[in-house]
């Protein structure tokens, strides 16, 4: 095994990622399996406020998941929709208006379609994984906001259409404002649970309107407690700034057309502290330091780390992570 022993490794780059685009019963699929797509190509039309309609057996046999076109009947025309299931000659169809579009977040190929569940894409290029994506997938030009401070300050209308990276703090208010300014998506190091809920609720309110709405994906790279962008991720984003990227949710990641070989990887012994008193700091793994007692009385395995500020610290191995 290369790199520091007993330290959790975290994938920094995923080559040719296979991603799922979530569908709901009633979504109308436009793409076909095996088709090549580029960023922005229409994959499906999203049903809004789906409802269940019961119709007669229809003129042709169908299997669950099939798209049933509108058919004239004795009591008027039965709407088009996805066949949920059929029982005793009666069809249950999921239907509704389809004002929203699901577009390909990056170039690739449609490898599988499961109606009402997911559409699987094999993307070209490379993915940079995160922990969660709020909202539907999207794409845009990457813009790196300066500084570690409050994200509200540097936002401007020139960022419309871009996916902005907040290197430091972001909250629901900032993200809602970004959306209102026409920004296409956001990447944040961390977002509190309350802010996540607010962003999702705001998205739901926006979707309640009648007009067609562009997606506003928010990719969260780490967790819930405030921390800054990891050095290796920041280095990659600096290279990607100005280029077209996509944000996808299954699994959550940022995707770029560049291959993994074109992007920098950190030294194998480079580590980041993700917990404890030195949280957020980065440095070089020096060696294991054996079991030590932490404040609070727990005894854990520890390691010596030469931090970037010149100090050498003993850190619990559980509090360290490295990027591979």
């Amino acid at each position: 095994m290369s790199g520091p022993p007993l330290v959790t490794s975290r994938a920094l780059l995923v080559g040719a990622p296979r991603v799922r685009v979530q569908l709901r019963p009633g979504d109308r699929i436009v793409a076909s399996a095996g088709a090549s797509v580029v960023a922005g190509d229409l994959l499906a039309e999203r049903v809004r406020d789906p409802r269940l309609v019961e119709t007669g057996g229809g003129s042709a046999t169908s299997h669950p998941g099939a798209w049933i076109p509108a058919e004239p009947g004795r009591r008027g025309t039965a709407p088009a929709g996805e066949l949920l299931f059929q029982h005793r000659g009666r069809r249950r169809i999921a239907t509704g208006p389809h004002p929203d579009l699901v577009a390909a977040p990056a170039a690739g190929r449609v490898v599988a379609i499961h109606p009402g569940v997911e559409l699987v894409l094999q993307l070209d290029g490379t993915g940079i994984p995160g922990t969660e994506l709020l909202g539907d997938p999207g794409h845009g030009r990457l813009a790196l906001l300066p500084g570690d401070g409050d994200g509200r300050i540097p936002l401007e209308v020139a960022h419309a259409g871009t996916i902005v990276v907040f290197p430091g703090r972001a909250d629901a208010e900032t993200l809602t404002r970004a959306r209102a300014m026409g920004i296409a998506g956001a990447v944040v190091p961390a977002l509190a649970e309350r802010d996540r809920r607010d962003v999702v609720a705001s998205e739901a309110r926006q979707r309640a309107g009648l007009h067609r709405l562009a997606p506003f994906p928010v990719l969260i790279l780490d967790g819930y407690v405030r921390r800054s962008l990891a050095g290796p991720v920041r280095d990659i984003f600096a290279i990607l700034a100005g280029s077209e990227v996509g944000l996808v949710g299954g699994p959550p990641m940022l995707v770029t057309a560049l291959s993994a070989g074109d992007l920098p990887l950190p030294d194998p012994d480079r580590v980041r502290v993700r917990g404890g008193p030195e949280v957020g700091r980065e440095g070089r793994f020096v060696g294991l330091a054996g079991p030590r007692r932490l404040p609070g009385g727990i005894v854990v395995e520890t390691a010596r780390v030469h931090l970037d500020d010149g100090r050498e610290a003993v850190v619990a191995v559980g509090d360290l992570e490295r990027f591979t």
Binding site: L6, G65, F85, E193, R194, G296, I298, E301, V317
Partner: protein, 547 residues
């Protein structure tokens, strides 16, 4: 111990070759969701002994060789002669390995014809370790059910009715099966378990669907649905199933009534075993898994309320939720400082939920409570005893021990019962760290002098006045035993009701703890007062909590 004794489950052919060459040492691995615990066991003076143990983040050791090598190196450094005797002196040679693997959280959707059968099915699936989402044909929203059942995290679909179906089920079975077949069409590869009369509809599912039919005519008791579902959930060498086996073995070996409590990141387990009635008879064992009693999972406000009620760290509700979410993301991180306090609060909440979910196992206190799993090791050992006392308010006197090296699950994977019993018998003293004796009395009025305690160890008695509403602690180190006389001014419930009790106290890291607090525990409504009260109890058994 005979020379033929070797671990029955070994990792890989290379390990098997090593086992034939050398039978004086082996390695145990307990791969949990959060941490991987490893231990080196060797034969010393014709007895198996624990030589070294540690636990590290589970994702950090996809291959265990590096971790085991670190432990072997410690053995070589500490006692080179012993390492040579056991054949551990050459770096790079890994002894045979016994491994238990923790289960991940698995989700099943339960579809039933009626609400009553849904509740029964969900209860069985939950006790078998599945997290469930249920729907019945009586209250079915097909769109919502389809959306829930086709989520990527759903690992199985359980469809059930009575057999024969009840009058109110007959009309609903067909539609239910049609919906389930629609789910199977969309999620190829997901197994479908048909219970009761639904089993007759297996042919209605798409070709290639794995359908498990469990007819159970007239609720056939011979078909143990819970065991079947548990087997479907568990992977090979499943740690929770192994812990159940190990609990039964402990009861046989110690001839004691044992209760094992395990809490983890993917669920929790409560198992009770008691020795067979006749000498040599196998132990009787009952176990319930509680997937809802997951450490730190706050999927709704009620779950957060539970943790907040036990929190002794000064965090507002939003921040507490974020810290718990971080705990779920990286449970191996942030163990020091208030990270330990957070875990203690989450552990109490999970334990409460485990006990609620396993009410069928309630009964008189066992002789020994064993705390197993990595979550208990994330707080100091004496604090673990306090967490137990806080969350399970059961009058009586019990010994408490901690499976600190996490040997029980790997030992429980050994298929040969006699071999397993020999190893457990040898390793008990090393595997189970005694925490002490916990006596919980009910009916003591808070704030009053309630009685006295006299603990006699050898020739030196220790006398202590007992006050209601408080914890009385007597230092009794591991390995020591004493005779404790408890006298109360008014009758109390200590498992049995009375005023004077004579109990045998065994020592441990927490000593003898006489808990005279309310049963059930009554805590102040105000958060700061509650925190202060919980903190004062924690300070008594956990002096390092602020250092």
């Amino acid at each position: 111990m005979t020379d033929a004794a070797t671990p029955a489950r070994e990792a890989g052919a290379a390990s098997a070759r090593a086992a034939r060459a050398r039978r004086d040492a082996f390695v145990t691995l307990d791969r949990g969701t959060a941490t991987c615990a490893a231990a080196v066991v060797g034969r010393v003076d014709r007895r198996w002994r624990l030589l070294a143990a540690t636990a590290v983040p589970a994702p950090a050791v996809p291959a265990s060789a590096a971790l085991v090598e670190i432990l072997l190196d410690r053995v070589r450094t500490a006692d080179p002669a012993l390492a040579t005797d056991l054949g551990l002196d050459r770096p790079g040679t890994i002894p045979p390995t016994i491994e238990a693997v923790g289960s991940v959280m698995v989700h099943a959707v339960v579809l039933a014809a009626t609400e009553a059968s849904r509740q029964r099915l969900e209860a069985d699936a939950t006790a078998a370790g599945w997290r469930t989402t249920g729907a019945s044909a009586e209250r079915l929203d097909p769109l919502e059910t389809m959306r829930l059942a086709t989520r990527p995290d759903v690992a199985a679909l359980i469809v059930g009715t009575g057999d024969p179906p009840a009058a109110d089920e007959r009309d609903l079975v067909g539609e239910l099966v049609a919906l389930a077949a629609g789910v199977a069409e969309r999620r190829p590869g997901m197994p479908v378990i048909l219970v009761g009369a639904a089993a007759a509809h297996a042919s209605e599912f798409p070709l290639g669907t794995e359908v498990v039919a469990v007819p159970r005519p007239h609720g056939d008791a011979a078909v143990d649905l819970r065991a079947l579902l548990a087997a479907r959930r568990a992977g090979p060498a499943d740690a929770r199933q192994a812990l159940v086996t190990a609990t039964a073995t402990l009861a046989e070996v110690l001839d004691l009534r044992i209760e094992l409590l395990e809490v983890g990141m993917s669920g929790a387990l409560r198992a009770r075993a008691e020795p067979g009635r006749d000498p040599g008879a196998p132990a009787r064992i009952a176990a319930v898994e509680a997937p809802s009693a997951v450490l730190g999972l706050v999927d709704d406000d009620a779950a957060l309320d539970r943790v907040e009620a036990w929190a002794t760290l000064g965090l507002d509700r939003a921040r507490l939720r974020d810290r718990l979410a971080e705990l779920r993301l990286a449970p191996w991180a942030d163990l020091g400082g208030d990270g330990a306090l957070l875990r203690a609060a989450a552990l109490r909440a999970a334990l409460e939920r485990l006990v609620e979910s396993s009410a069928e196992l309630d009964g008189p206190p066992p002789d020994l409570v064993v705390l197993a799993g990595g979550a208990w090791s994330s707080i100091p050992a004496p604090a673990a005893l306090l967490v137990l006392a806080d969350a399970i308010r059961r009058p009586g006197v019990v010994q408490v021990a901690l499976d600190t090296a996490r040997l029980l699950a790997p030992l429980g994977t050994i298929e040969d019962g006699a071999e397993r019993a020999r190893l457990v018998g040898d390793l008990i003293a090393d595997a189970l760290v005694p925490l002490g004796t916990l006596a919980i009395a009910r009916g003591v009025r808070a704030g009053r002098q309630a009685g006295h305690l006299r603990l006699t160890v050898g020739e030196a008695p220790v006398d202590l006045q007992l006050a209601g509403g408080r914890l009385a602690l007597v230092d009794l180190p591991p390995g020591q035993t004493g005779a404790a006389e408890l006298g109360f001014r008014a009758p109390v419930d200590l498992g049995v009701r009375g005023k004077r009790f004579a109990v045998r106290a065994t020592g441990g890291l927490a000593g003898l703890v006489v808990d005279l607090r309310d049963v059930p525990l009554r805590l102040p409504e105000r958060a700061d007062e509650r925190r202060d009260m919980l903190g004062s109890w924690e300070a008594a058994l956990w002096p390092e909590r602020d250092r």
